[in-house]
């Protein structure tokens, strides 16, 4: 058994873990260690060779790979320690982590912990698609790794199910590599990826987007032979007679992402049933004192820019937790999604001051009015040009100590 003591332990070395670790170090933590199960640093970024990263953060557009190197260099400059190929098995309420790697079992005592485990892709079994079990069915991110990291082409005639960003980006990537991309099938009446990706990945290459459609059947024994697609009604039920067979050898699934929280669940951290990530306060502290959460294991972000900004707040507070610079208030406000809003992060506020709230609307809205109410009092109002479920909305609200004393529920809703 190898015993270690650190001030701040970060689990996961993707963009969130890197940003949190750098911020913890800059805010006074002496000893910051990142653990990651992969052989490389940067998480998913090394396979994100497309550009569009860092626009909001730095003003210039970088590729995912460039963004990763920028953060890895910064982390190395700040003397952050890394342990690769290291799997965290569990941690307990006293913040003792059990991890394993080639050198053996590690017991690590951490002053504070930052959770940055990222997320996983939904699979065919999340969508319950009937049919055979041939080869040729990939989640979009796995296909991205095959093509961009390992130089392995995955097929010739491709159908993409789900219009998430990774699916759209992979449709273009496959086209570049000579594949025939037959179409992107989306069950909702709108694309779930960002508007810029619909334009530059599908429209640019005349790849059809079948809205209000889904895949109902997968045919093939050894290799995929065809998929059946069908139109759905507004309750997402298949319209009988609308089925149509598309011959293809490859099906890509871009069905959305699930925050990875096995470790959080193991120690009893409270999760939000909508985001599937931990319930956090404005400092990104979870229900377990001294354990902070950031990145896609907290909730799935649209862009790495906003993710990094939040991860830095989590890292800073993880550092401050160690130096006991935490102000404790006995009161807290709980935040809840109201009409038209699917979720809000953070879920509670226990300190007065400016807090930025992140949330998503349920359906696309023209000129929606955002309203925040606290115990039936309006405390915030803003009209937007439009709102789209694919674009996370960020608002800054000011919480006074009086508001905090109310012990009420803050509701974020959409009004027309």
């Amino acid at each position: 058994m190898i015993n270690l003591n650190v001030d701040v332990l970060v689990i996961g070395c993707g963009p969130a873990g890197l940003a949190a670790a750098i911020s913890a170090k800059k805010n006074g933590a002496k000893n910051v260690l990142i653990l990651d199960r992969n052989t490389w640093l940067g998480g998913i970024l090394p396979q994100c060779i497309h550009d569009g990263f860092g626009v909001e953060e730095t003003g210039s557009s970088m590729t995912g790979t460039e963004y990763a190197e920028m953060y890895i260099n910064e982390a190395e400059k700040n003397d952050i320690s890394f342990m690769n190929e290291t799997m965290v098995l569990e941690f307990n309420k006293k913040r003792q982590i059990t991890a394993v790697n080639k050198n053996g079992l590690h017991k690590i005592n951490a002053g504070s912990i930052v959770l940055a485990m990222g997320c996983r892709e939904k699979t065919r079994w999340n969508a319950m698609i009937a049919g055979g079990r041939p080869s040729g069915i990939f989640t979009a991110g796995v296909a991205q790794a095959f093509i961009n990291l390992y130089n392995i082409m995955i097929g010739k005639n491709v159908v993409v199910l789900g219009s998430g960003d990774v699916g759209l980006i992979m449709a273009r990537r496959l086209k570049f590599e000579g594949a025939n991309v037959l179409g992107v099938v989306e069950i909702f009446p709108y694309a779930s990826g960002l508007p810029r990706n619909v334009v530059q990945c599908l429209d640019d290459y005349d790849i059809p987007l079948f809205l209000n459609h889904t895949v109902t059947y997968i045919k093939g024994k050894e290799r995929l032979e065809s998929v059946t697609i069908a139109q759905v009604d507004k309750d997402l039920k298949v319209l009988p007679g609308s089925e149509r067979k598309i011959n293809c050898d490859t099906l890509l699934l871009s069905l959305g992402l699930i925050p990875e929280n096995e470790l959080s669940k193991g120690v009893g951290i409270v999760l939000d049933t909508v985001t599937e990530g931990p319930v956090v306060d404005q400092n990104y502290e979870t229900s377990l004192s001294g354990v902070f959460a950031c990145g896609n294991c907290l909730h799935v972000y649209d862009t790495v820019d906003v993710l990094s900004v939040d991860a830095k707040i989590a890292g800073k507070n993880a550092a401050l937790f160690n130096s006991n610079q935490k102000f404790l208030f006995n009161k807290e406000i709980n935040i809840r999604p109201g009409k038209g809003v699917s979720y809000v992060v953070p879920q509670k506020i226990n300190c007065p001051g400016k807090t930025s709230l992140k949330f998503r609307v349920k359906t696309p809205e023209e000129r929606p009015r955002i309203r925040c109410t606290l115990k039936n009092d309006d405390i915030y109002e803003k009209r937007l040009a439009y709102a789209n479920p694919a674009n996370m909305i960020v608002i800054d609200i000011d919480i006074s100590s009086n508001m905090l004393q109310s012990d009420g529920i803050l509701e974020v809703s959409i009004d027309d």
């Binding site: 590729t63 790979t65 810029r196 649209d302 862009t303």
Partner: protein, 123 residues
């Protein structure tokens, strides 16, 4: 002759819907853009659409078989597949540093192809 057209901006994740009025080789940006970058994008998009091209180049003796690359400037849309064809012919030796010019003046466009990743030599 004028033509009104809606352009979805791709500069940032917001995706502003920008209305433009195209009069021959002149473009008036009418509405919809939230920032200045949108004006520039909409004018280009209406007259001479271009995209930053990202793909990868084969690497020999590297810790990975590929290095990711990008175009130094946005490539005219109708040249993208010509440029990809040129890039596919190239193979370089590890190690590769990020920011290195891999191909100069690719496919006669005056645009360079630059590495966006560092690849160490395989030990």
């Amino acid at each position: 002759m004028t033509e009104k057209k809606q352009i979805t901006c791709i500069v940032c994740p917001l995706g502003c819907k920008i209305m433009v009025d195209i009069k021959g080789d002149k473009v008036d940006v009418l509405s919809g853009n939230k920032c200045k970058k949108g004006v520039n994008y909409a004018i280009y998009e209406a007259l001479d659409p271009r995209r930053v091209l990202t793909t990868s180049v084969l690497v020999e003796d590297g810790e990975w078989p590929l290095v990711s690359v990008k175009s130094s400037r946005p490539v005219p849309k109708n040249k993208i597949f010509d440029v990809l064809k040129e890039i596919r012919k190239v193979k370089i030796k590890a190690p590769v540093k990020i920011g290195r010019t891999i191909i100069m003046d690719v496919a006669g466009t005056g645009i360079d192809i630059i590495s966006t990743k560092s690849i160490k030599k395989c030990l």
